[in-house]
Symmetry: C2
Subunit: 356 residues, 2 copies
């Protein structure tokens, strides 16, 4: 090669090198993130969902975002997740919005409320009914970007050592039931208590509590609750389709190129359907197991459900009117519920009724 | 700079250039794909779902895969999608597995069968009950990689110009109802006919047919079917949760780097929940509209549903025993249904029943 051509070729190579290395720089930029969660590491359903989310983001990004998942209490306690991500201690978290009513009462509408939307309706509200926009607006105040990222489906009513035949049977009943469900129980004359997961079994076995709710067959079986109770009641009127959440520190989210932001958003959508599918398939196996144990699986009497629904309405009206901002979310939620439920009834409900 | 150092620096730059351009080459490799679909371009729900899927894949890949979406009949007719993608005419397609019973009777289990799994149960079977593995095994014979990619939820029973009070009322009834639902109608004494979407309205209005099913309020309203019928019946026993599918030419799929394969897989999961949410939110608005029109929205009598369920069982037993391979899928599907339905009943069904 003549020197002149060599120099030209060299120039061309250098130009490619410059472009190539700029692109390589952008593509090679690696994000090492921490994910804090409210669940024990690899806890069935919830914790596995968090792991799946981290793995999806890693895989889709070709390793450009690497997320290390921390179980509850590894970096922060289960209820420290919101503040920690908000302050940037971790870039991302996996948790549930019902834990944050102390931050803002409106948070609860983005997980589950008594006699509220079921999972399918909740997703419709979030993605196509304006829910996600309100969720983003609320969490923006806390420096967070929220995404629905999992659902347990309708939970169970709980484990009881006393038969529930009328609403009177709830009077004086000591039950582990946190949040809005607990508020409803209290107004029905019961005594709601809050206990961490690990304390429930012993409290139920020793009679410190008469009843407890937890999640559903899959998680409840693992806790051995069937060994400490006589009755397993359904349905879980207080948590009809809890949405779990992924929260991302806003500054961390905005620092990402748009394809990586998209990867997080879409992974959250995928883990949303994935976790519900996991619960659906595992709950039925656990239910098979429980049916063989020395417990009675019973439906709450209609009259009890009716009364609990009335009290729930009172409670939710109060919560929803707490302040103007909550009122806006409350209004959106119930307007959607009123419109979507008639459709759910003539589709899902009518279909399932015809399958007895 | 001394010449010696200049050369050294040049060497370093060239080394970076080599690495950088290799990486740039890999990352810069662009895939221009065609997506053929069985839906009119941007058809509400189904067609929009296909567009959303293409956009997600484009966005997540940072533009490395660009997918051009073709509506039905733009490149191939609606029912030509399977063969066209199988043969590599297009790399990817969006359609429904119930169209391919002529390819293999087992295909139908991957969309919807009469009195089968609803959407939530279907996803549980696909992702956690072994369904997807069987789906992949079946489609592998056709050089295709299948992914669930959307769901309409429970469809409506259809539009009728005759009131249905007993199973006898189906005798002689001419109804547009394709596939397995049509087979069931025939055994109940009816006359199933197949008509393309565009022909339905006129056939119903002129009395060529007495009844037709289509999808649900959202799509049915757009077709103006309420102007040609007296009754709108629910529930859609014949299609309780049709899963739509994305099919990818196997060679095209395998030619992708693994992060792009992941991007397609996860985008399909996301569009699965997305489309169902879209239908949930739009069906209720359309239902509101239809309630104001001069039609009666009625539930099939229990006795009719019971009889249709019995006939459906006969039909499905025959389909399921067609050959050893179909038998394997049939067995997996119904084993899962038998296990999951008891859970659906004490969760979703019991919850919705308590909300009347």
């Amino acid at each position: 090669m003549k020197r002149r051509n060599f120099i030209k070729a060299l120039g061309a190579t250098t130009a490619v090198a410059t472009l190539g290395s700029k692109r390589a720089q952008a593509d090679a930029k690696k994000y090492k993130w921490k994910m804090v969660t409210s669940w024990p590491k690899n806890f069935p359903g919830l914790g596995v969902g968090a792991e799946n989310l981290a793995k999806m983001i890693n895989d889709l990004s070709g390793g450009r975002i690497k997320i290390k998942v921390f179980g509850a209490n590894e970096l922060v306690p289960p209820l420290g997740v919101f503040d920690f991500v908000s302050e940037g201690g971790a870039e991302i978290g996996h948790t549930g919005a019902y834990y944050w009513k102390g931050k803002h009462p409106a948070c609860q509408f983005f997980s589950s409320v008594p006699f509220g939307l079921n999972a399918q309706e909740m997703n419709a509200w979030m993605y196509y009914g304006g829910g996600l926009e309100l969720y983003e607006e609320l969490y923006n105040q806390f420096n967070l970007v929220p995404r629905p990222a999992g659902n347990t489906g309708v939970q169970m009513g709980g484990w009881f050592n006393k038969e529930i035949n009328t609403i009177e049977d709830l009077k004086g009943l000591t039950m582990r039931i946190p949040g809005l469900g607990g508020e409803v129980l209290q107004r029905a004359g019961g005594v709601p208590v809050t206990l961490a997961g690990a304390e429930i079994f012993t409290a139920l076995q020793t009679g410190t509590i008469d009843a407890t709710e937890w999640v559903g067959p899959y998680n409840d079986r693992a806790f051995g609750l069937y060994k400490a109770a006589k009755y397993y009641y359904y349905p879980g009127w207080h948590e009809p389709g809890p949405s779990l959440e992924c929260i991302i520190n806003k500054k961390a989210y905005l620092s990402l190129p748009s394809d990586l932001q998209n990867i997080i958003d879409i992974s959250c959508k995928a883990v949303n359907i994935d976790m519900l599918s996991d619960y659906m398939s595992k709950n039925n196996l656990a239910l098979d197991f429980l049916k063989k144990e020395d417990i009675k699986i019973k439906k709450f009497p209609d009259s009890v459900i009716k009364k609990l629904r009335e009290i729930s309405k009172e409670v939710m009206d109060e919560v929803g009117n707490h302040d103007d901002y909550t009122k806006k979310i409350y209004k959106s939620y119930y307007t959607f519920l009123k419109k979507v439920r008639p459709w759910t009834k003539i589709s899902e409900l009518a279909y399932l009724e015809g399958n007895n």
